[in-house]
């Protein structure tokens, strides 16, 4: 019997699953650096987080929605990896699972699953943990200079934490900051996935090469932030406003490349994406420089997520053969 269908009769080989697989591949360099820098503690968080996210999505689909599980599209693995990347190494297993629950069940499935969530699930999970368990979330193991088997962890503050401390405690001694090279390759304290700017850049290049994302959001995001912080730094001249430190340490790179570019929670037109990225940059600057938290990327992206529907209805691309209104 002949088959019948409407045109087109061809499809691109790219599928949702393929895109997610590419994102996972792009996350690999950062994952490897994280494991090398933080050792077993990081591995435990990553495995728990990924397994937790996949499991929660499967349970919700199978037993609550009674539909075919959507875990096959690998998006839960991406969420799990990103959540783990935003947690400190050695984060307790039970709390990681709570983060997975919030990310998948509340932030994703409650809104209707993939494509329908308003906020980035991994970030919602992280922010929930950050507010609920501030002590555990800011217990940063020190980098162990690629000594993988060392399980005896020392802890210390992140670079941004040190900078923030300078502001609140005027009398504090200027502590030693890590070198730019260490910040670039990732031999610093921080969340598992955010430490190495180099690894994130590798992932960024891979995603650009595979045309998973366009360059607009990451570049406009970082550029806006750098512009504002540079002006601030030039005006005050204080070391804690040094823009390059802000770029290389903390979650700015990770957020700009992997979190802000999430399809579902970012605008769908080119100009909209630029506006969104600029908004993220401004908010990150405001929170880092004027807020009480040392880190502002998560909040900035989540706040801008809420503006996406508005941006989508404002920045409508021009239709061929018509004039822009």
């Amino acid at each position: 019997m002949l088959k019948l269908s409407t045109a087109p009769h061809l499809n691109t080989p790219t599928t949702t699953r393929g895109i997610m697989l590419d994102v996972i591949i792009a996350l690999m360099p950062a994952l490897i650096v994280g494991l090398l820098v933080f050792g077993m503690g990081a591995l435990q968080v990553v495995i728990t987080s990924v397994a937790g996210c996949v499991l929660f999505e499967y349970i919700i689909c199978r037993y609550f929605l009674k539909s075919n599980p959507t875990t096959g599209d690998l998006s839960a693995i991406v969420t799990g990896l990103l959540l783990a990347f935003n947690l400190p190494s050695g984060f307790p297993i039970s709390l990681t699972l709570i983060g997975c629950f919030v990310a998948i069940v509340i932030a994703k499935m409650a809104f209707g699953g993939i494509g329908k969530n308003i906020f980035n699930p991994a970030l919602v999970g992280r922010v929930f943990l950050f507010i609920s368990f501030p002590v555990q979330m800011t217990t940063w193991p020190k980098p162990q200079a690629f000594n993988f088997m060392n399980t005896d962890m020392e802890t210390g503050a992140t670079t941004l934490g040190i900078l923030k401390h300078l502001k609140t405690d005027e009398t504090a001694q200027m502590p030693e900051l890590p070198s730019y090279l260490n910040m670039f390759i990732g031999n610093i304290g921080g969340c598992i996935g955010e430490v190495s700017a180099l690894a994130i850049l590798l992932g960024f290049v891979y995603m650009l090469y595979r045309r998973i994302i366009s360059w607009h959001i990451p570049v406009y995001y970082v550029a806006t932030f750098m512009l504002l912080s540079s002006i601030h730094w030039l005006l005050t001249g204080e070391i804690r406003h040094e823009p390059l430190i802000h770029l290389l340490s903390g979650g700015l790179m990770l957020g700009a490349v992997f979190m802000a570019t999430d399809y579902t929670t970012s605008p769908m037109s080119k100009n909209g994406r630029i506006a969104y990225a600029i908004g993220c940059g401004i908010l990150t600057y405001v929170i880092r420089f004027y807020g009480i938290y040392p880190e502002g990327v998560s909040f900035a992206i989540l706040i801008m997520n809420a503006f996406v529907p508005l941006i989508d209805s404002t920045f409508i691309p021009r239709v061929f053969g018509t004039r822009r209104k």
């Binding site: 019997m1 002949l2 088959k3 019948l4 269908s5 409407t6």
Partner: protein, 279 residues
């Protein structure tokens, strides 16, 4: 204590101020509307189906209250039927003539059994799309596409695709003859017909205009234009190899005979004794 008191005063003050503002705003922007409209609207079913030809129930209520006695006769809410129209007429002080209750009937019996599929369609399930690139599921160019555009457009849940037959079945208790299915069907297979006394009605469930032999080959329940029905009641006309039974033919008197004598079973009589499948 201090904090609590000040909070209460502050929040109370805000509430009071907002209330005052809201009050004046609602006064200033109040739209005066005929009391009759809301009264009529309350009586209507409120499904906004548009079957009456107006944009929605509110629009219909507006039209009713504005119409004079003559104009009112032209207005009819098919969903509410006579009961609702009677109430509306009472509220407005008019007299509403009783209209016969109607129902949608499917003029096709191109079921999976009578007219087997000739191809396998993959893609978005929409009859209107398939009708653009081909005819129907079966060899019959006039028959049902069986993808259920009518089901998706029915706001009253009166239509569903019968799993075994493959074609939609009308639930006459739920059907309000709004005409949405008539409009959406790319094959124009639905017709709004009087429900008939005790739900007894007779109609030709076929739209095939091909010559008898071809029509029969395509679908075993096709009308072959054999003219037998025209001999039973001369009001019945056969045009383009297709018979049509006008609503003036009394179902109770002729129904049984017409259905019994139709060689293919294309004529459906809902009150038929010997039970047979019919939409």
């Amino acid at each position: 204590m201090d904090i609590i008191t000040s909070s209460i005063i502050m929040l109370g003050g805000i509430a009071l101020a907002s209330g005052v503002v809201l009050y004046f705003v609602s006064k200033k922007f109040y739209v005066k509307e005929d009391a009759k409209i809301s009264e009529v609207e309350k009586l209507l079913p409120g499904v906004n189906c548009g079957a009456c030809g107006k944009a929605g129930c509110h629009d219909f209520a507006k039209a009713c209250s504005k119409a004079n006695a003559e104009g009112f006769k032209q207005l009819y809410c098919t969903v509410g039927g006579n009961k609702v129209m009677q109430k509306v007429a009472e509220a407005l002080g008019y007299r509403q003539e009783e209209k016969e209750e109607t129902v949608a009937v499917l003029r096709c019996q191109g079921t999976c059994q009578n007219a087997p599929s000739k191809f396998e369609y993959t893609g978005l399930k929409s009859c209107r799309l398939v009708a653009q690139i081909s005819t129907s599921q079966s060899e019959c160019p006039y028959g049902c596409v069986r993808l259920g555009d009518c089901v998706s457009v029915c706001k009253f849940g009166a239509l569903k695709i019968d799993k075994e037959l493959g074609i939609p079945v009308v639930d006459e208790n739920k059907c309000v003859s709004c005409g949405a299915c008539v409009e959406i069907c790319p094959k124009k297979l639905f017709e709004i017909r009087p429900k008939g006394k005790d739900g007894k009605r007779v109609y030709v469930a076929c739209r095939n205009q091909q010559k008898g032999a071809i029509a029969r080959k395509n679908c075993s329940a096709a009308c072959i234009g054999c003219m037998k029905c025209t001999k039973i009641n001369p009001e019945i006309k056969v045009e383009n190899n297709l018979s049509y039974i006008p609503t003036s033919v009394d179902a109770e008197t002729y129904g049984q005979e017409l259905a019994d004598n139709c060689p293919t079973g294309a004529i459906v009589y809902t009150g038929r004794k010997e039970k047979k499948h019919g939409a």
